[in-house]
Subunit: 453 residues, 2 copies
């Protein structure tokens, strides 16, 4: 395979006070970030000035967990945050170029609302909207939506597949030139360019048409974040960007090959889907400065938070009665997430970790790829994974906000640009113009086909 050329796509994944589990306790962190609009305006404008492709917002429709002591010690439980669609719409009014990608669950929404809100955001922003389609894996969310339990994994993905199909077709309700607005003739639209969906499926019955004109991007960009077998299949079928957590280059390369290899069966080209793993860079002007920054953040992890996280990863076992600086005790096997439990315990045994060492290892980046070093070292890592076809770009997860985003922009981006790996100007006016071609309206395409045939 020839050495890969081209440039990275970069997302700025804005998590209120930062992605490190203890970020909000950092002296420079904006502790009220989740409901501080000015904070987000500054981050969005900084990311835009640095030519990031997009902003990304995660979401949950409920607070996470029942452990009040744990919850009350961490800002990482979606407890006091803006809702993404309202926040992105507001940010659309104070930015001009950067893509605006928000998460919304197919498990607890209706396709008409989601199609409509993202189409509306696409109009407001002049073609910069993206929808991160998730199925929600959190039991606590279901309880806010008339259910005692969540849908099971298979049903969730069947629902998501039908949901995505309905949204996709609603976005084509009107052809691009359907609206004449001919004042003289009194014709507001051309009825031949309006299309009624009339969908009747297993989960949804949606007549249409959407009550929003076709949006500047044709359709908002679809992003997917699931990495399970069902998640990969759904992404290969519907998504244009994947955000994924891949700890090692080897895992990333395997994931990349697997997903790109699935596109052909849906009539898609490998370039139609960009794979952007998450990465938390901790950058210093020297390696020791980077290391110190990291250790400082790690020292802010409250042992109660660390213990609760390890307990979650080891099947709910309460380790608080054991000495923090002693070994992990023998644990009974449980039903919850067996593979994750096994991975965590294997790690602890293999490296002979104490309880504190284990939580420091797993808590900080919450399972994401973390790179600590100089700008050159970080650029080396990002370049290596890119040229080995493990990524088309990255979703940058700043450890502390605003500081770690500033660090990345001021220290790492110049190094990436020096290597020709990142843009100095936006190529196009819309998010899609940077990512891929504008989709053709299916009905217009059918007509063109009929004319050509």
């Amino acid at each position: 395979m020839a050495k890969r050329t081209g440039q990275l796509r970069l997302g700025a994944f804005l998590y209120p006070a930062g992605h490190h589990i203890a970020a909000w306790r950092h002296p420079d962190a904006q502790a009220d970030a989740g409901i501080n609009f000015k904070h987000y305006v500054q981050l969005a404008q900084a990311a835009q000035a640095a030519k990031f492709d997009l902003l990304f917002l995660a979401d949950g429709v409920g607070t996470r967990g029942d452990n009040l002591d744990f919850l009350s010690r961490t800002a990482h439980s979606y407890i006091a945050q803006f809702e993404p669609i309202t926040l992105l719409s507001a940010l659309a009014a104070v930015t001009e170029n950067i893509g605006l990608v928000g998460t919304a669950s197919t498990s607890f929404n209706e396709p008409y609302h989601i199609a409509r809100k993202f189409a509306s955001l696409d109009h407001i922003s002049g073609g910069r909207a993206g929808w991160n389609l998730v199925t929600s894996s959190n039991e606590h969310e279901a309880k806010n939506f008339n259910r005692d339990k969540h849908f099971d994994h298979g049903e969730r993905y069947e629902r998501a597949t039908e949901f995505a199909e309905v949204v996709d077709r609603l976005w084509d309700s009107w052809e691009d030139d359907a609206f004449l607005r001919d004042k003289e003739q009194g014709r507001f639209f051309n009825p031949a360019k309006r299309h009624v969906l009339d969908h009747k499926g297993r989960f949804f019955q949606v007549k249409g048409p959407l009550n929003v004109a076709r949006s500047p991007q044709g359709q908002p960009v679809v992003v997917q974040a699931g990495s399970s077998e069902a998640g990969r299949a759904l992404a290969a079928r519907t998504a244009e960007v994947i955000f994924t957590a891949q700890q090692t280059h080897r895992d990333a390369i395997d994931f990349y090959a697997d997903v790109k290899g699935r596109l052909d069966q849906y009539g898609r080209h490998p370039d139609d889907l960009k794979i952007m793993p998450g990465v938390m860079p901790i950058v210093g002007r020297t390696e020791s400065e980077a290391r110190e920054k990291f250790e400082h953040l790690q020292s802010l992890i409250d042992p109660a938070v660390g213990l609760a996280l390890v307990s979650g990863l080891t099947g709910g076992f309460d380790l608080s009665a054991y000495p923090l600086d002693g070994p992990i005790p023998e644990l009974p096997e449980t039903n919850a997430s067996k593979s994750r439990q096994l991975l965590t315990l294997e790690l602890a045994r293999r490296e002979n970790l104490t309880i504190r060492q284990l939580y420091l290892r797993v808590a900080g980046a919450r399972g994401h790829w973390q790179v600590v070093g100089t700008p050159e070292q970080i650029a080396d890592q990002l370049e290596e994974r890119f040229v080995q076809y493990g990524a088309d770009g990255y979703n940058i997860m700043p450890a502390v906000l605003p500081g770690s985003l500033t660090d990345f922009i001021e220290l790492v981006l110049p190094e990436l640009r020096r290597r020709g790996l990142f843009r100095t100007e936006y190529e196009g006016a819309t998010l899609r113009a940077n990512l891929g071609p504008r989709p053709v309206n299916r009905y217009a395409a059918q007509k063109a086909g009929a004319v050509a045939a």
Copy 2:
């Protein structure tokens, strides 16, 4: 009763190209208004500079009707418009004082989503969000949400009452001082100030808490627009503002007395609910200029649109085979909206109207109160209804946008100010500060009561 003093509350009801049925055909109208963000930014900033209390956006979750010829000739069918929550969020970023009130249906939404989005908008806007609670009366909307038919009227209002109660309580999930964000102690919130709803009702099962901190207004302002018996009861119980269509002063005074008289049974004061009828002012520097403006707009009504509207008001009877300038034929009685049909036909018979005269009479303002005249004549009408306790203010419905809003601001507002009827500066920083007191968190109030007892 002593002569009423005080000042009017004014809303700017922004309907894309204007409220007149033919507005979009006017030479000065912004025909693509529904998806033109700059248009809305200009309107919002103009209304704010004029010190309007609030912007108001109507909504429908579907296009209206199946008559394609009619639909294609009018912009008044929610066919190519921004979704209100996204639009208001974007406008929040470019305004500072004006209230932002958006419509959302309780029939096709979940209370957790609605509570969350309006709380988020309240944070983004610094305390300017309002929710106009409607139940939807449009059969076409139901078909976009997994139903063949709409809920019946009674069920709709039972659902709405429970929905409003859940939203109200979700907004109290956190006390105002629940979030400590104490970096030193590692306490993000105080668990004693978090409240779980655990609602299990007929229509909804919602655990809570909301994942947004209590918002700057305590709770976003609740608006209601229904005027039926069930609508009045719901408004008296839950709303802080009513938008209503009252054609005559007499009707307005009766409505006002009826609704204000219902508040006591819910432990509320008459001032806790502001009644703001809609009005479409057509203003000229002289009476004949105003009259000419109106006639010009009326002349733009396409007969096909006029006929379809009259047909809708007379039970679906197709009048297109009869001469436009001849009398209304005898019509069979139908099931649909009997009282409306009767009112329309009585009007036609009483005044011996032709088909064209009838549609001109009912089509223009779409059933709303319309005042055509000089600034003094319009101010007289607005003052008269106010001092007679028929209104606490008005929801101004500009006939054509942006022109009719500019006319009202430049010509009518100075006259209202000369009479001391409208503010020259905002009194407070939030929407609620102009409308009434900030609500106390129910849980905090209970604790305070327990301490006092």
